[in-house]
């Protein structure tokens, strides 16, 4: 089976490059065709600058060149590790993304772990009590969550916990007007809780319903019937067969949900003005900040791609049918 490895890696790399190319082309086209004038947002609508000065600025940012040329320049710089300058933040895109991502990654990682663990547990619990009150409650809760828009849910959570109960700050990652040296870990956690709660809640429905379904399927499977016929107790059934057979698909599902996680993160951040990639995306889009948007598009595509890749590899490593039976994917 190991003879297939180099070929497998090459095919992954090929697919990844193709994906990045398509994503960048598409984002590029969408951004430059959008009805936002980056020049206008740079100098401001009330600007009194002369036409010559504006043309000078456009030339400086490369906004006057034809589209294919602009794309080519961008790719060339990219290959040198240069993602360009962000018009919005007036800083290199790389440093903007680097800083923003550290906030977002904490948010996404925690929400991913919490939604995964809680969702899996809830799914198992509901599945075992299929048709009961708890099951129906959990199912309804998940279905409502899945159909509720993240944005709306975030606003609801914000208005309830912050505005009404006053338990949490309205937004941001750290208290406004506090010196950086005075900010404590507690402050950061305090600010993180609501966006984290929102993102966890949004992500939990899918994994719960999936696990519940999987459990019911497995409980009705022939091999559970036979395991019972061999005299295994309920406890043995759970620990020998059910956990393993439900956990594997659940973990895989969690990894392949990176795209939803990313989308949810962007919206949750916007609602809570949390200074991560999500808010940066909104700001960049509103300002027609092509380099930053492209940078974010690439990073997020890579992020989602790695999630799916991990899901595939994991299946190959954990599932004996793939591990000892042949090729991955």
């Amino acid at each position: 089976m190991h003879t297939a490895r180099p070929k497998y890696i090459a095919s992954i790399a090929g697919r990844m490059l193709l994906l990045l190319f398509l994503v960048s082309i598409l984002s590029f086209t969408l951004i430059v065709k959008a009805p936002i004038d980056p020049l206008l947002s740079y100098v401001g609508a009330e600007s009194t600058l002369s036409e010559e000065a504006k043309a000078e600025i456009a030339r400086h940012w490369g906004l006057d060149a034809p589209l294919p040329a602009r794309y080519a320049t961008w790719v060339k710089n990219l290959l040198h590790g240069d993602l360009g300058m962000s018009v919005t933040y007036k800083r290199p895109v790389r440093s903007v993304i680097g800083e923003r991502f550290s906030y977002s990654v904490v948010l996404m990682l925690l929400a991913w772990v919490f939604s995964g663990l809680l969702g899996y547990a809830a799914g198992i619990f509901a599945g075992f009590r299929r048709g009961g009150l708890a099951d129906r409650g959990i199912k309804l809760f998940c279905l409502v969550l899945q159909s509720a828009p993240t944005f709306w849910l975030g606003l609801l959570i914000l208005s309830f916990f912050s505005v009404k109960l006053g338990l949490f700050p309205f937004g941001m990652a750290v208290p406004a007007g506090k010196l950086v040296s005075e900010i404590t870990l507690g402050d950061r956690i305090h600010h993180l809780i609501l966006p984290l709660f929102t993102l966890t809640i949004v992500s939990i429905g899918k994994i719960t319903l999936f696990t519940r379904q999987k459990l019911i399927e497995i409980m009705n499977s022939d091999y559970i019937l036979f395991a019972r016929a061999r005299g295994e107790s309920d406890r043995q059934l759970v620990f020998r067969h059910i956990l393993r057979n439900t956990a594997l698909p659940a973990v895989t599902l969690q990894f392949s949900s990176f795209s939803e996680l990313f989308g949810g993160m962007a919206l949750a951040e916007t609602v809570f003005s949390y200074p991560g990639v999500g808010t940066a995306t909104t700001a960049a889009a509103l300002n027609g900040d092509a380099p930053l948007l492209l940078g974010i598009a690439l990073i997020s595509a890579l992020f989602v791609f790695s999630g799916n890749l991990i899901a595939n590899i994991l299946y190959g490593v954990v599932d004996p049918r793939l591990r000892e039976g042949g090729d991955y994917v």
Binding site: D222, A229, G231, R240, D319
Partner: protein, 311 residues
């Protein structure tokens, strides 16, 4: 109280119904097995034949106590003279009473087969017993480390038998162990059953394939619509339709490809019929008005039959 003649398995007037929700929320009880009686003795293979939906698997599951939770059973199942309660079933299954399933789909796809075979008890003792059983069936130790999907056809068949016989059970129930097997493989499987019976086990062999059953079974029970139509020595089935008692068993023989290949007109009635009258009446060429009354199982010429006109 267990004398030499006490059957290992005795099923007395078994009834199985399912409570189901029909159209809207109306709860309905659907009887799928009625007044089913059957014995299996030590050293004996009793084959259960009958068309699809006759209730063969349900009988097996009822004995093991693994029916779905919406099933309601009445009647009595005795193991060595002792009424099988749910607690006893839990205690005996896997050790005293074993099931041999149909295919590797009945094994956990993510668990090595050696570990699955060793489950009854779980400890090192069980592991050793499993190893010995693997060896008895000519399976090398390396087979224990394989996953179900890695088993070849021949290995799979033996592994399934091994998982059932590790604990040397006194009663073995095999549910359709041969379909999909070639003639040679099927014969080999049945030879294993014969050995098990000759070794002192009681074997209940459920199958579609009466032809194969004839060759190893001592007695054959013909199921029809959830009840036993006839129970007779396998010899009678070999001698042909005239040696049989029930019109359905005769028709069943006639329908075999190697015989007249003559299908039986009509269809098996589905659940929910009046319990007493003859269930085969719709399709029976010998029906009379008397057949609408109660038709009970009775002894006849060394067998048993549920037909008032049988001779």
């Amino acid at each position: 109280m267990t004398s030499k003649d006490t059957p290992v398995l005795a099923v007395r007037e078994l009834q199985i119904s399912f409570s189901m929700y029909r159209k809207g929320l109306r709860k309905e009880s659907l009887r799928v097995i009625r007044s089913l009686s059957l014995d299996v003795r030590k050293g004996e293979i009793v084959a259960v034949v009958g068309s699809s939906g006759a209730g063969k698997s349900l009988l097996a599951h009822a004995v093991l106590g693994i029916l779905p939770s919406n099933a309601v059973t009445e009647g009595e199942i005795l193991y060595k003279g002792e009424t099988l309660t749910p607690a006893l079933q839990r205690k005996y299954r896997g050790t005293e009473i074993a099931l041999i399933p149909q295919s590797v789909d009945y094994l956990d796809p993510l668990m090595r087969v050696g570990k699955q075979a060793a489950c009854a008890g779980g400890g090192p003792e069980a592991q050793r017993a499993a190893r010995a059983a693997f060896a008895r069936y000519g399976l090398e130790p390396r087979v224990e480390r394989l996953f179900p999907f890695q088993l070849s056809g021949g290995m799979a068949r033996r592994v399934l038998i091994v998982t059932a016989v590790v604990a040397r059970p006194a009663l073995i129930i095999a549910d359709e162990p041969t379909p999909g097997l070639g003639a040679e493989a099927a014969t080999e499987t049945l030879r294993h059953f014969r050995q098990l019976a000759d070794g002192g086990a009681a074997v209940l062999l459920i199958t579609h394939d009466i032809d194969l059953a004839l060759h190893v079974a001592d007695r054959i029970a013909v199921f029809y619509a959830g009840t036993t139509a006839e129970i007779a020595p396998a010899e009678d089935f070999k001698r042909g339709r005239d040696a049989l008692r029930h019109p359905y068993s005769k028709a069943f023989l006639d329908a075999l490809p190697q015989n007249a290949f003559k299908p039986i007109a009509g269809a098996q009635p589905y659940a929910g019929r009046p319990p007493q009258a003859c269930l085969f009446a719709d399709r029976c060429p010998e029906r009379t008005n008397a057949c609408a009354g109660a038709v009970a199982m009775r002894a006849l010429r060394g067998g048993e039959v549920r037909c008032i006109h049988a001779t």
